[in-house]
Amino acid sequence: MSQNAGASQGSKGPTKVFPSPEAALDGLADGHVVLVGGFDGLGSPEALLKALSARGVGNLTCICQGAWAPRPQGGDSGLVQLAASGLLSKLMAPLPFQTVDSSERVPIEERWRSGLLEIETVPQGILAERLRAGGSGLGGIFLPTGVGGRFQDGREVRQFNGQDHIFHPAIHADFALIRAAAADVVGNLVFDGAHRNWNPVMAMAATVSIAEVDEIRKLGGLDPELVISPGIFVNRVVQTL
């Protein structure tokens, strides 16, 4: 599977632009590890998630901030729907889901409690550094957090500067679904405020990263000083209406 299979080839040179979210997910298969950007609904790739839910692949591991309803609109986000569907076998997140009303279980909680969905909670900072290590070619890092607590979990502990630190291996995933404000045709990305969050590191830490954007500019249409994610990290771009 070519990482860029299906991209439109314009007459003016290479492009990573795909015609639809469905087309952009080409190659995403059963059992894949998928990173999904967004924080509390901000900067979440909703069109890609909707297309993923309809794709019919299963046994996926999803790594994300958590499947929460977006503030302030509320309602079900793409991640909430995905986690409530049968597509995920595992969710790894710092804040996997939110109990809104203690008298009523959300579908994700039902799946988790019935053993259909495995949940691994992870501190936000540890997950960020593990993904950054994966995207940066490092094998792993030591961090000062979680020593002596449940997140130490059989991991190696070593002293540096007289203080205990825990070893965490890098994470590298199969696919990353991210959201950006704008892209150019070779995948350079800019973001909008708090919608940035996980998106840049997830673009780096996956074999195939797909960016869902509001706007696609021509080559040279983005100010180089403002590009946050260089296009080398982005395989596919799709514009949402």
């Binding site: 909670t121 501190p123 094998g139 890092i141 070593r158 203080q163 996980w198």
Partner: protein, 459 residues
Amino acid sequence: MLERLDFEAMTRRAAKEIASGQVVALGPGIAEGVTGQVPSGFDVWFLTPAGTLAYGGSGNRRETVSWVSVPLSTVDTAAVVHGGHVDTAIIEAAWVNTQGDFAHWTSGATPGLNAPGSAVELAACSGRVIALMRHTRADGTPNILEASPSPADGHACISVVVTDVSVMTIEHGQITVLETAPGWTFDEVVAITGATISPAANLVEMTMDAPIARAQPRQKVYATGLEAVRDIPNGAMVNIDGFAGPGGMPHYLMVSLRDHGAKDLTIISNTAGITRVVNFGTPPGRQAIDHSILVENRQVKKAISSYPVSPSPSTPTAFELAFQRGDVELEVVPQGTLAERIRAGGAGVPAFYTPTGVGTLLADGKETRTIDGKEYVLEQSLKANYCLIRALKADTLGNVVYKGTSRNFNPIMATSAEVTIVEVDEIVEPGELGPEDIVTPGIFIDRIVLRPADFSPYD
């Protein structure tokens, strides 16, 4: 029925714990409301859960300093927290015990889930950690306890607790009540607490007046480079940015450091000065200013660099000649590893595994390890005492933008030193640099120096 404080009152009381000049991180939940309780002119940086660094509070918009906010990626947020750049963290807790252990509010919301969010690193790495929480659950179950009813997200880390009925301190396994909510007696607080608590000698009623506003933010602009480097001591470790060529180096600050004369310096820099002999772009008859001026002035004891020599043996650098004489020490580090070591220093990562150098002399004496079938070498972080960097523009809060490839090592070096000094072409007012433009937020910049208009980077 005694009235408990609402979230607005609780966050207003919590805001009193903030001192001017601090970086304050807020955990998700009710703690986020603290920004609204601080006036906009107050000299504080708030780090919000979604990763925005915002200067000043969002309450009381009459102040002149505009609401400046810088978006951070989640990785940059992690680096700020792990790297020890947060002075005070305010976290919503589910429970707190007499040892100062706590669990994030999610432990109370969803039994068995114990989701940490960003609470673990906020609690472990911030200078001071304040728990903001209800004193009991809705059904009256106490949240202030002797033991831990669910797995903790932090151990012995909470020093102050602000609840809807009290303000308490925790020290050496003892909880002391400093204040009670209006209308509450100490005994009434004891009745809903699940741990032994003691009253402070001067127990008072909670008041919610706002933190004292500083008239002016800290002055970061220095009149001259010499004044900005004045306290650099002999033996200091100094980050100096630059790639190799004449651009992107803090020439004026390097001249200032030479004139200041501090000796026995260890410089961390990509080169130890090569422009001066290679003369990229140097006008005829002139010599480029670079690290060589410090070497020539016998100020350098050691360099940690990736490219410490001239490309041509016929034009050796000052550092090379000094090295051959035995006057200086050298640690050679591949450029990528150097960048990662500096970044790690600012990001609280003491060591990491890189594939670079495996099987070469550069791995001699270092631990190697196979992870997932690939071999890596262990490298340690680098942190400096001082940092001299070059940027295009700074605002008076220290937010900085760079120009083109002059960016090079600047952003990571700025995070990885105790005192960072930036040399700029232009100083602007807060708000003039757009949030998406800012590459280095002001929390990392201590001193700003305007490069004089008549300064030449050539001797």
